[in-house]
């Protein structure tokens, strides 16, 4: 009885591996390459002909003159593209509170005037460690610092943030967000 089952089991496994493991992904790769070449190869962004990143993958910013992204828990450095990860800190872990305090201190060190409560996404590590976005509130929170560092009028930055804010799909799905890398690229164009 067992022997008569082995041939169909083995053959079906190998035939399915060829169909589902080779033919199917290669077909999708070919079609995606034809129809969506930019998206299928990583949605890269270029400046002066050089790839500076992907619009989908966040980058680390710590200079006062750029908008900063979410804290990233990837190792060994933040926004490590090949080690996606969240912090996995539990809500009562003292390390979480320490980390939040550190981020608040860094945000305030460069903008001592700001005493407003900090938007939560600026002090919480994202799930992937590669979050490309921040909330509009988090972007606006940083305007005073950047305006000071660049010697620009805050109104220009307000406008920039507004034009880079992506809405919810049908006003319902997803959240308002600002892509940090695209925003900073536009910021460098401002002068």
């Amino acid at each position: 009885m067992m022997l008569r089952l082995i041939r169909p089991a083995l053959c079906l496994l190998l035939a399915m591996t060829c169909l589902l493991g080779i033919a199917y992904p290669l077909l999708i790769t070919g079609l995606a390459r034809l129809a969506f070449a930019h998206q299928a190869t990583g949605s890269l962004l270029y400046r002066d002909g050089k790839a500076v990143g992907s619009s989908l993958i966040g980058q680390n910013f710590s200079d006062a003159k750029y908008f900063w992204g979410r804290p990233s828990a990837t190792l060994p450095e933040p926004y490590n593209g090949i080690a996606s990860s969240g912090s996995n800190l539990g809500p009562m872990n003292p390390a979480l509170i320490d980390q939040v305090k550190r981020h608040v201190a860094a945000l305030r060190a460069d903008a001592p005037a700001s005493r407003a409560p900090v938007p939560v996404d600026l002090v919480s590590a994202s799930a992937s460690g590669l979050d490309p976005d921040i909330s509009p509130a988090a972007a606006r929170y940083q305007i005073a610092r950047i305006a000071h560092a660049r010697g620009t009028a805050p109104a220009n930055l307000e406008k920039l943030v507004a034009t880079h804010t992506q809405g919810k799909l049908f006003g319902l799905i997803g959240e308002l967000r600002v892509n940090v890398l695209e925003l900073n690229l536009a910021l460098d164009q401002l002068r």
């Binding site: 041939r7 169909p8 079906l12 589902l20 299928a40 993958i57 996606s84 969240g86 979480l96």
Partner: protein, 578 residues
């Protein structure tokens, strides 16, 4: 509009779309699985016939339940062996541009069982461990085949209820082939292309270096590449959940926009919910299927709301640090640790529910960083046995086992022989249903107990206090219920956890399957008894309440002591620390 209202609207829209698909898809699945001629079989019929000819399968011969089970087990064991071998030999295999060497034996063992058992628990990080070949031809293939095994077993079990006085429940090879060719493959092709259009990558290139604008002169950022969209589609449609990357569906290359997130959630629950209609159609009374669906929805909606409100309230310990966690026009607020900006709280909470109410286990948020009551929801969804709506195939046969238990309890109360769908439920069925229902709790609680008593188990804990216990309880709940999500702080890529969760996944998947197929064989051989005045109807609100009662009774009695030591006590600590 407050965040609670907009979440409720999101939930209604989401479930509305699902409900619109249940009838057409459920009907389609019933038709193709029963071999009725339709447009899909006209297109794919030649591939189906070719498969049978290549493999020496006679599609007209049906199998007894024991032969069906033996074929299913053999096929899955061979799948484990092949997947183990691929991982160990990946250094010699093609499509390995990052030159990854062999996966360690314990990790390869764990991963092989994990993907074959539809669990997709992952101790490794995809982007730094598995070659494109292993991902495509190994892991993704098992994403299809484990889901197809689930559909096959579900349909065989339904036949046991639908037929009478016959000794066979179908042909495993035929069911597996049809589920793959007509259900999983076409839906995956469609979803993969839509995902690719939104930014999910799909290529075979080596990882790319880019020069970041702030620090590009000093060092480059490496972007991972790979055939992701094709795998992402079946990962969701097959309720598998194994991410191409470590961050799973939180990774922007797996789930780049709110739209892809919405579609991925739909893909996860579509087939499991639709199978209730398939069931109703096959037993000749669609009301029976709608009754099961109603029970599923009650559980789903209630627990989902708990998850959302817990997370939206935010972490009380952060308020003292002058952090703004309130929802406003500029931000979703709430507990954003371990969540992505584009999903916020609503789309994260819904995903958490969707992925653990099924056997999926894909994550777009880090469950370990959820608040105690928020994290309780995925844990409890899994512990209820994943039947609201449950995994592809496994959801419908799980809830059927509770239906059997429900009519048995009702029968005891009124002193009549219990019956369901015209079949007498007798001692043999109850023994098998008990094996089905008790196997996973036994594995979960025993595994957790062993892990907290030995050094190798405790060594994996990442967070102090009750949360550390929750991490271990979550790991075994996830493995034994074939979910695959994690409180991922737990360091699980160690020989202890790789072997322990590997065993848990094996028993959690296949013991219940054997028990449920045994019931199918026994019921299929019985005579159908006519409906009389004394027959309890199994399509009305009374039956739905009875079914919910049995599910909750078993779930609560089994797990409350363990839950009290984990999320519940943590919740009270958090309230006290505020």
């Amino acid at each position: 509009m407050g965040p609670g209202t907009s979440f409720t609207i999101l939930l209604i829209v989401f479930l509305g779309i699902v409900l619109l698909c249940v009838k057409p898809l459920g009907r389609y699945i019933a038709d193709v699985m029963e071999g009725k001629p339709n447009f899909a079989r006209r297109i794919g019929g030649s591939v189906e016939t070719l498969m049978y000819r290549l493999c020496g399968i006679d599609a007209s011969v049906e199998m007894s339940w024991s032969r069906y089970t033996l074929g299913m087990l053999l096929f899955n064991v061979l799948g484990i062996v092949l997947l183990y071998a691929m991982q160990r030999l990946q250094g010699f295999l093609p499509l390995n541009p990052q030159h990854f060497s062999a996966v360690s034996p314990d990790s390869a063992f764990n991963t092989a069982i994990s993907f074959v058992s539809n669990t997709d628990w992952q101790g490794y990080s995809g982007e730094s461990t598995q070659s494109y070949f292993v991902q495509m031809a190994g892991l993704a293939v098992q994403n299809f085949l484990s889901a197809a095994t689930g559909i096959a077993v579900a349909v065989a079990v339904i036949r046991g209820f639908a037929r009478h006085s016959v000794a066979t429940i179908g042909n495993f090879w035929v069911d597996l082939t049809r589920a793959t060719l007509y259900v999983l493959l076409p839906l995956s092709m469609l979803l993969a292309l839509v995902l690719a259009s939104q930014g999910v990558i799909q290529n075979l290139e080596a990882y790319k270096g880019v020069a970041p604008i702030e620090s590009g002169l000093l060092h480059t950022q490496t972007l991972p590449m790979g055939p992701v969209a094709s795998q992402e589609a079946i990962k969701e449609l097959g309720t598998n959940g194994g991410g191409f990357f470590n961050a799973n569906s939180a990774h922007p290359y797996e789930n780049p926009t709110p739209l892809t997130n919405f579609l991925e959630m739909l893909a996860i629950v579509l087939i499991p919910f639709s199978l209730t209609y398939t069931f109703g159609r096959m037993v000749g009374d669609t009301r029976q299927g709608w009754a099961l669906l109603a029970a599923m929805l009650v559980l789903f909606v209630t627990l989902t709301q708990v998850a959302f409100h817990s997370e939206q309230r935010g972490n009380p310990l952060l308020t003292a640090q002058q952090i703004d966690q309130s929802a406003s026009a500029g931000q979703p607020g709430g507990n954003m640790e371990g969540k992505e900006t584009r999903f916020g709280i609503a789309a994260s909470a819904l995903f958490v529910a969707v992925t653990t109410a099924t056997s999926c286990g894909a994550v777009n948020t880090m469950h370990d960083s959820m608040l105690p009551l928020g994290g309780f929801v995925p844990l409890f969804f899994m512990q209820l046995g994943e039947l609201a709506p449950g995994g592809v195939g496994s959801g419908i046969y799980s809830i059927l086992m509770f239906a059997v238990l429900g009519v048995f309890i009702a029968g005891l109360m009124i002193g009549r022989t219990p019956e369901y769908l015209g079949k007498k439920i007798e001692a043999y069925e109850m023994k098998m249903a008990s094996v089905f229902i008790l196997t996973t709790p036994f594995v979960v609680l025993l595994g957790t107990a062993v892990a907290v008593m030995c050094g190798a188990g405790v060594a994996g804990i990442a967070n102090p206090g009750p949360h550390g216990f929750s991490e271990i309880l979550y790991a075994f709940s996830s493995a034994a219920n074939n979910n695959g999500s994690a409180f991922a702080g737990l360091s699980a890529n160690t020989p202890f956890y790789n072997i322990a969760t590997g065993i848990a996944m094996w028993f959690g998947r296949f013991w219940p399957m054997i028990a449920t197929l045994a019931i199918a064989g026994s019921l299929g051989a019985k005579k159908r008894i006519p409906v009389t005045e004394g027959t309890m109807p199994t399509h009305g609100p009374l039956f739905v309440s009875l079914l919910l009662g049995s599910i909750l009774l078993i779930g609560v009695l089994t797990y409350v002591p363990a839950l009290a030591l984990g999320p519940l006590v943590e919740h009270y600590f958090l309230m006290a620390a505020r």
